[in-house]
Symmetry: C2
Subunit: 164 residues, 2 copies
Amino acid sequence: MTTSKEGIAVKMVLDAWYAKVNQFDKLLAELSDEQLLNEVSPGRNRGIYLLGHLTVMANSMLPLLGYGENPTPHLVTPFVKTPDKQTSDLPSVTELRQEWEKAKTLLGEHIAATSTDEWFRKHTSVSEEDFAKEPHRNKLNVMLSRACHVDYHLGQLIFLKNSK
Amino acid sequence: MTTSKEGIAVKMVLDAWYAKVNQFDKLLAELSDEQLLNEVSPGRNRGIYLLGHLTVMANSMLPLLGYGENPTPHLVTPFVKTPDKQTSDLPSVTELRQEWEKAKTLLGEHIAATSTDEWFRKHTSVSEEDFAKEPHRNKLNVMLSRACHVDYHLGQLIFLKNSK
């Protein structure tokens, strides 16, 4: 059991990530495929778009954390670079639910194999030179900002509950 | 300049808090009082309620972090314990904007005076006994969870932009 302050900080951030992931999973289990096709609010993103968006964002953490390639590069354009409702060629909700499961599981395997020291090393989109001056731009900070990012969209997806 | 890992972790979490606070401030500056009286989505909380809610949540961090009393205990019932639109006796948007400014400033003063070691000490709602077993239940974790909490509601408040 680690009781170093840095070990505690790592646990705090990873706990936050998993709390948000579990909250998202719980909501996904409660929402039907039909509900996920609704807009979270009139004129706003649909549930399917946010499901795809959060899946891509999870997969895009793999290269950012130095764990390897993004396994779903084809989902970046429709779910990150393009606003919702501008592409008719999206995967089905069923497929996206499976992609989310895979993304979460694969990321979880890498997270579990990462040491405390490693969390404080630089992520891949910051240079060695910048990192020397800004050591907070580390892998753990990626987890922290992405945990909050999930929360941002959970605040929207919750509106789909009780929708027709 | 601190380069200890725990110092870096503190900076990461406080940066996240201030990023969310600044994002909220920017949005508040863009929204009119009239827009803040709208529901963020049909049948959901109004902007005024979420403004009061985030203000109370910021003020309630003071006792939790051991910084003193919540300066606005009278706002807890209307903005935390009671759902929106069940009380007609709410402060005006103008008053709530001022309360938010005060809450953010007061909390900021206490944050600035807190040492790295202090951030890793227990918050006031966990017992010494539990904290010995769960040292992640510290003051820094309060900041982390509250930063994400702001993000959750920012995802909703953003819907007020371009509302009538």
